[in-house]
């Protein structure tokens, strides 16, 4: 190719990139940059134009806040347990509806329903179903004789984290199923047939063929879900507002920023959230070697 053609190709490439770069600047780089900037100021939300630079004082304040570490612990507990359950359930359901069972099409469509309902709606539905006096769950358990009086699922400090995890599992397992099912369907059926003819028992077919070949799909699903879970806000907030038992890092940052009007400290908290999510993402991508798995 002549130098002129190369130049023209480069120009075309840049032209195609301009819309993406422009929108990224507006919706990602600018807000993120503003947040980072305010993290180093003592600004308040009522008038962000009045501020002075305070260095890393805000970051240190958040770091030394007991509530922040409570929120970190809640977030990590929620993330690890919910993603683990969702992955296991998602894999099991995906394997099941990948089989040629009757009503498979209907099952595949029906499984998406919880995923399609807005989080706020799902949470409110479950909150009512779990209500200690009027909830259908308590009625059912009472009728079956498991309990003699209604359990305060969402009021009891020891139960509420379990409830949050349960609702999240109910809502987002379909997402896991869908991603893992897509991965399953990428595997050639003949590979399983080959293993079958070779006399490989079912458990070994699953362990040595299905699971390793699903690794990229499961990895991507776990990554997506983990990043989602780490910045979870709506579910906990709708169910328990700022209850410290289920306060996530996002709720903490929101409280500092909006409730307490501390733009500087709130931005610092947001920066910590960003760093936390980035760190976990890097660890997962490294551990699952997703970058390499994707390239095969």
């Amino acid at each position: 190719m002549s130098a002129r053609l190369v130049r023209r190709d480069h120009l075309a490439a840049w032209l195609f990139l301009v819309p993406v770069i422009a929108s990224m600047l507006v919706v990602a780089v600018w807000p993120l940059g503003r947040t980072f900037f305010f993290a180093f100021t003592d600004a308040f939300l009522d008038d962000p134009s009045v501020y002075s630079m305070v260095g890393i004082d805000n970051l240190i304040e958040v770091f030394n806040d007991h509530t922040w570490w409570l929120a970190v612990r809640n977030t990590l507990t929620f993330t690890v347990i919910s993603v683990a359950i969702e992955t296991a359930l998602g894999l099991a359901i995906a394997l099941l509806i990948n089989e040629a069972i009757p009503g498979r099409g209907l099952a595949r469509a029906a499984i998406l329903v919880p995923w399609a309902i807005p989080v706020v709606v799902s949470t409110k539905i479950w909150e009512w179903m779990l209500n200690d006096q009027f909830g259908v769950i308590n009625k059912l358990l009472e009728a079956l004789g498991f309990i003699d009086h209604g359990v305060a699922w969402t009021a009891s400090g020891s139960l509420i984290m379990g409830v949050v995890i349960f609702i999240d599992v109910w809502m987002t397992t379909p997402f896991m199923v869908l991603l893992i099912l897509a991965g399953l369907q990428m595997i050639s059926q003949e590979i399983f047939e080959a293993a079958e003819v070779d006399g490989i028992p079912a458990w070994k077919r699953f362990w040595s063929i299905t699971l390793p070949m699903l690794r990229p799909a499961i990895g991507v699903a776990v990554l997506f879900r983990t990043l989602d879970a780490l910045r979870m806000f709506d579910l906990s907030y709708v169910l328990a507002a700022s209850n410290e038992k289920v306060m996530t890092v996002s709720i903490y940052a929101r409280d500092r920023l909006i409730s307490f009007q501390e733009l500087g400290v709130g931005s610092a908290a947001s920066t910590w959230v960003f760093l936390l999510v980035a760190l976990v993402a890097i660890i997962i991508i490294g551990a699952l070697r997703l970058d390499r798995a994707a390239g095969h």
Partner: protein, 369 residues
Amino acid sequence: MASVSMESVSKSFGTHSVIHDVDLKIDDGEFVVFVGPSGCGKSTLLRIVAGLISASSGTVKIGGDDVTDVPASKRGVAFVFQSYALYPHMTVARNIGFALETMGIRRDAIAQKVQQVARMLKVDHLLNRRPRELSGGQRQRVAIGRALVRQPEIFLFDEPLSNLDADLRMEMRMEIAKLHDDLKTTMIYVTHDQSEAMTLADRIVVLNHGRIEQIGTPSELYRQPGNRFVAGFIGSPRMNFLAVETPAAHDDEHIVGPGGLAIGRSPSDSIPVAEIGIRPEALRLVPTGTGRLDCMLERVEDLGHEHFAYCRVGSGTLWVVRLPAAPNTDTIGKPAALTFDDHSLFFFAADGRRLLPSAEPLGVRSALS
């Protein structure tokens, strides 16, 4: 090693019937090729033998034992797929040895067997590679190695060479033939390529629309096809056909056709001949007026060692004639004539049955439905 037999095996998927009442006996150590056009049910039949598909009705026996309800994993057969179906995340060595891992064989014994098989198939230098790092031919060798290492009773091949280029296909064909000579294991091989069937098979099973059209050795099928389908399927280039008429017998000329064709005898008095067939190598191209059939020489293909003339017979039919030498280029596009010996003609009834000059039609396709 084992024999295979199928007794009135049928298979349908829902209301769609793909195999109709197949009876077949394959002897121990035999190399049998299922051949037929795509969609004829040959792969389905092979999968029924493997146990990957269950028969809707009928009995499958391997080594005399009824295996109709035995799962694929317990049938002691090995299957080589067209797509090779190698495990992409395993090395070549593990691909070959994987089946042995669950058989309670010690690690070093597995490694030794894998090494031995790999050496035999000339892939021993690739043992640490992954399938994606291999060429098509190498993948096929690994797939065969994976079958070989288990020392199966029966080898099943499902179009194993279709994804290879022509040179490699020829080479692998030789190797599979040699493998059968060495192992003397029963092999069933599916292909749509009649030349693969002709070169490999002890016996060929020709399938069409889920039915067996004819079973026989390659030379039997070539010389004595039982019906028009087999006559047209076996042989390359394919047999030439021509629709003819059998007028009421009032003189010596019993069969007449386009281009002045007149054949002085009919194989059967009761069943009229609807079509004649003749192979390209049985025809000779001669100047107009000296042959038995007038035609138009439209085109000549020069393959170096042989030449094919394409002759328009009558209004629509194009015949292929094999020529020993290139004809004079002046003759192309001009009328010519063809001649042949009566004994190289094949006669077919309107339903496709072959009519034998002796009188009785061949009984292969007795019940046409």
